[in-house]
Subunit: 205 residues, 2 copies
DNA sequence: AGCAGAGCGGAACGATCCGTTCCACTGCTA
DNA sequence: TAGCAGTGGAACGGATCGTTCCGCTCTGCT
C-alpha cells in the first residue's frame, strides 16, 4: 500500500497522537488545535470521528485499556510491593490518569467504558489488597488512597512535558514512602474516600 | 449606620465570600454565577470592582496575604516540625493554594502581588530550612517539594466541599509521613523542581 | 417634606470562541 | 481517463460571557 491510502493510514495515528498531546495539555482545547498540531485539516479529523465527543471517548477509553493492561502485568510480578509501585510509576509516567479522569465529564461515557472502568477498579483493588496482605503497604491505607495518589500526581505540572514526568516521579516517591508499612507512624485522619466519592466524574446525567 | 448603607457594607463581604466559593469550585466561572450565588445583581459587583480581572486579583492577593500571615504564625511555633506541618494543614484546609495558583493565569498580576508572592516564598523557605536543620524533615527534601505538595493536595477534590477538606487532610498526612526524616529510605529520584519551574504561572507576558 | 443621587437588578449588546458543515480541489485507483 | 476517496480550510450558527445601560427604589440630607 502506498500513495494516498498510505498517507491516510498514517494520518490515523498522527491524529490520535496529536489529540492525546493537545488534550493532555488542555482538556478543553478546541478541535482546530488538534488539527493544527497534527498538521492536517479539520476534515481529516471529521472523516474519522463524527464529533469531538467521539474523539474524546476514544482517547479516554484507550487510557482505560492501558490502565487495565498495566495492572494485569503488575499482578504477574511476584513481589506485591514492587508490583504496586512499578504499576503506579508506569501509570503516572504515561499520564494515563489525565487521560481518563481529566477528560471524563467532557463527554457522556458509553456502557463499554463503564465496564472497562469497573475492570480497572477491580484490578487496582487486587494490587492493593496483595500489598496489604503482604504487609508491605501500611495497614490503614485503602485502594481509594491510591486513586487519590494518582489524582495528585497528575496535578504536578510544569510547562515542559519531559520535566513534568521527572517531577511526578519524585512526587510519587515521596507518596510511596508515606504509604510504605514499615515507617508509618501518624494515624491517617478521617475515613478514607468512598468509591462513590471518587467516581462522581463518571456520572451519566 | 443602618439602612441602605449598612446593606451595602454587608454586600461587600457577601460578594467576596460568594466569589471565593464560586471561583474555588470553578476558576473560569462567569461573573453572573458570582452575582447569583451572592444573591445580588450584576451591578452590585461592578460597582465594587471595575472588571472581573480586578475581582480575581483581589481574591488571589487575599489568599497570598493569608499564606504570609499563617507562615509568620508558624515560625513562632518553637518546634520546627510542628510549625511546618501545622502550617501546611492550615493552608490546605483553607484551600489557599487554589486561590493563589489556580487563579493565577486568569489575570495579569500586579507588582504588589509579585512582592507578596516573593515574601510568601521566602517565609516558606525559612519554615522548611528550620525543619531541615532540626533534622525532622528528610534531608533530600527541598522547599519546592513542599510547593508541589500543596499543589497535589489542591487536586484532591470531590463534589462536597466539607468532604474535600477531610480527604485532603488524609492525603496530607500520607505525604507528611513520606517527608518525615526518621523513615525516609527510598532515594528521591531526579533533581527537585527549580523555582522558575514552579513560578511559571506568574509570568507577566 | 422633598429631592438628589447612591445603590441596585437585570435585560440587552457586542465580542469571542468553537463545533460542525460545506464546497472546491487533488491525485490515486480502477 | 473518469470518478471518487481524501483533504484543506473558509464560513456558519449557536453558545457563552464580560460589560454597559436604563429605570427603579429608597435613603439621607437639607
Amino acid at each position: 500500500m502506498s500513495g494516498r491510502r498510505q498517507q491516510a493510514a498514517r494520518n490515523d495515528t498522527v491524529i490520535l497522537d496529536a489529540a492525546r498531546e493537545v488534550f493532555l495539555a488542555d482538556p478543553k482545547a478546541p478541535i482546530a488545535a488538534v488539527a493544527e498540531r497534527a498538521g492536517v485539516g479539520i476534515s481529516a479529523l471529521y472523516r474519522r470521528y463524527s464529533s469531538k465527543e467521539e474523539l474524546l471517548r476514544r482517547l479516554c477509553h484507550d487510557g482505560l485499556l492501558l490502565f487495565v493492561a498495566q495492572a494485569q502485568a503488575a499482578l504477574a510480578e511476584p513481589d506485591p510491593w514492587r508490583g504496586l509501585t512499578g504499576f503506579l510509576a508506569e501509570i503516572v509516567d504515561a499520564d494515563v490518569h489525565s487521560l481518563t479522569v481529566h477528560l471524563a465529564g467532557t463527554f457522556t461515557p458509553t456502557p463499554e467504558m463503564g465496564a472497562t472502568a469497573r475492570a480497572a477498579g477491580e484490578l487496582a483493588g487486587r494490587l492493593v489488597q496483595r500489598a496489604l496482605d503482604d504487609g508491605s503497604l501500611r495497614p490503614d491505607a485503602v485502594v481509594a488512597d491510591v486513586t487519590l495518589l494518582l489524582e495528585s500526581c497528575a496535578a504536578v505540572r510544569v510547562p515542559d512535558p519531559a520535566r513534568t514526568r521527572r517531577l511526578r516521579a519524585r512526587h510519587l516517591a515521596l507518596l510511596l514512602d508515606g504509604l510504605a508499612a514499615d515507617r508509618s507512624r501518624t494515624d491517617l485522619p478521617g475515613p478514607p474516600p468512598t468509591a462513590a466519592e471518587l467516581n462522581w466524574r463518571w456520572r451519566t446525567p
